[in-house]
Symmetry: C2
Subunit: 348 residues, 2 copies
Amino acid sequence: MQQGCKKKVTIKDIAREAGISPAAVSLILNNKPCRILEEKKQLVREIAKRENYVVNQAAKSLATRKSHMLALILPDIENMFFSSLAKQIENRCRKEGYSLIIASSDDRWENDEKLLRVLESRGVDGIFLIMSLEAMEHGERLLEELSLLTMPYVMIDRTLLDAGCAKVSFDHGQGGYLATQYLLEQGHTKIGCVYRDDKQGSGKSRLDGYLRALAQYGVPVNEDYLKKGDYRMESGYLAAQALLATDCTAVFLCNDMMTLGFLRRLYEEGKWVPQDYSIVSYDDSLKNYLLGTKLTTVVQDIEALAGEACRLLFGRLRGEGGESQILLPPRLKVRGSVKKNAAERGMG
Amino acid sequence: MQQGCKKKVTIKDIAREAGISPAAVSLILNNKPCRILEEKKQLVREIAKRENYVVNQAAKSLATRKSHMLALILPDIENMFFSSLAKQIENRCRKEGYSLIIASSDDRWENDEKLLRVLESRGVDGIFLIMSLEAMEHGERLLEELSLLTMPYVMIDRTLLDAGCAKVSFDHGQGGYLATQYLLEQGHTKIGCVYRDDKQGSGKSRLDGYLRALAQYGVPVNEDYLKKGDYRMESGYLAAQALLATDCTAVFLCNDMMTLGFLRRLYEEGKWVPQDYSIVSYDDSLKNYLLGTKLTTVVQDIEALAGEACRLLFGRLRGEGGESQILLPPRLKVRGSVKKNAAERGMG
C-alpha cells in the first residue's frame, strides 16, 4: 500500500484497502454523520491509525476555512515583556482549542507586512498583532494594510488612535503621570526623565504624563533633565552619565532596560537605589534580578492584557462584535522609601 | 466583482474580468511560462494588485510541497535561553528566505506530539525541535513519532543519544566538569552541587561532570552537599537554605535561575559573591542584571548552536546529507577571584 516508509498515505489508499469510497473515508475520519456500518468505520480508523494518517489540514482548511490556528506577530521575541505576553496568550489559546504560532517582525515594518500576507495565505483563523515601531510611524499605510485582512485581528499594546479595530493597550500617559507624581509627593522637584522620542507611541505618552504631573504641581520643566533613550540598556547608562552631571535628585525612566543601564552607572559611583538616588522605572520585569536594590516601578498587568486580547479575538471568531477599544490602567508598585533623601537633597 | 469589501477575490474572478481562463491566470501569477500576450499578463497583474489578491499558499503548497516556512518547537518561550536561541534562528531563516514560526510545548509531551502533527499537516518545509523534558523520558515513543515525519528536522539542545537524526547540542558533561574543576583549583574541597535529577538530559550529564572532577582530584563525594532542584528560582533558594546549614564553602549550580534564588538567600544573610561565598553558575544569562555580584559561569554559545542547527536543516532542505551529530564545547567564563577565601575557609 505504501511505496516507501516515508510516503504519506492518502485517503484513496485507505478507501482501497477498506473497500469503500474515498468520500466515505473522509466523512468517517472527520467524524461527520454517514450511513456506514460501525464495523466498517472501525476498520477505517484502524487503517488510518496503523498508517499514521494525518488529516490534511491545509486541504481541509481550504474547504472549511478553519485551521484552528491563531498567529501572534510581535516585534522581538527576546524582549521579556513580549515573551511573557506570548506565553500568557498561548496558554489561553490552548485552553480554547487553538494552536498558537508566533512570528517576530524584528521591529521592522517590511516584516510586519510580509508576515501578515504569509499568515493570511496559510489560512490562520485570526491574528494578534503587536506591530513594529516603524509601522506606527507609517500609520496610514498600516491602516490600509489592515483594512484588507480577511480574518479577525486584534491590535495589542502598540495601537493607533484612529484605527477602528479591536485593540487593547495600557494607558501610558497615566503611567508617566503616576511615576512623576510619586517623586513629586516624595519631595523631589528636580526630576529627570529618560524617554523614547516617538511621534505616536508609548514614549510620547509617558513623557506627556511626566509633563502633566510637573505642570499640576507647578514645577517648571528643565530641558537639562530630559534625556532621550531607545529602550536599550546602553542608552540608560549614557543618560545616567549625563544626569549625574546635573543637580537633579530623582529620575523617571520609561522602561526597565534603560533602568538597568542607569543602575550600572550609579553602581560604578558607589550609589545604590533607593538609599543614594531615587528612581521610578516602568515594566516591573526586574523584580527577580535585583539584589540590594529596591525599585519603585509602574506595573503593567500582562495577564490582564493577554486576557482582554484573547477575549476580543475569541469573541470575533464566534462572530461577536461589541466593545472593541480597551485601555488598561497601569499602577504604581512602591518598593523602599525615598522621602527622607528627597527632603535632604531636593529641598536643600 | 466582489460581494463585500472583505471578501477574498479568487482566480476565477480575475479570469472573468480579464477574459481569459483561470488556468492562464494561475500561470501568470505564479510566473510560469505561458503563451499569453504581454499586455494581457500586465492586465492580470494589475487586477490582482488592485484587488489585493494573495496567491493561496495553502493550495499552492499542496501542489508544490514548498511553503518556505520553517517551524521551531520549543519548551518555554519565557525562558531566556530559548528566546535568545529563537531570535538567532529566526535571523538566519530570514536571511535564507524562510519565514520562521515558533510554537511552544509548555514542556509537555502531548503538546510536542500535537504540534508535530499540526505543523506537518500545515505543510511547513522543516522543523527545528527542542523537545520537552517529558518527551525525553519517553525516548522510544519519541523516536517512533519522529521516524514518521515526512519533512527534514533537526533536534536542538535536548537530544537523544540513540536518535539517528540530525542533532546539535552542548557537551553538558564537559560543562559540569569545567565548573567543578575551577572550584577545586581555587582550593575548595567542600563543594555543593544543585542539579536537576533527570534520567537522560542535561541535568544528569552536568552532575556526572561534577562527580568526574571530584574523582579526578581525589575528593570524596558528600551526599549532604548534593541538592536537587528543578531549574527554577525557588529551588535554588531552598538549596541555599540547606547548604548554608552545612560546612561547604562553594557550590556549582546547574542553571542561572537556581543561582538567582541562591543569591537571594545569600543576600538575606548579608553575603555577596564572590567575596563571601564561591559560586559557579551555568548559562551566563544574568550578566546584564547583577550589580555588585561577579558571577563565574559556564557559557554556552547560543549563536554557535543556532548557526549549526540552521546549517544542518538548510543542508537537508537542499537534499544534502553529511555530518549530522554535533556536540558543541561549553567554556568557563571567570569573573572575580575566589582563591583567597577558598584557602581561608575550605582548608581552615
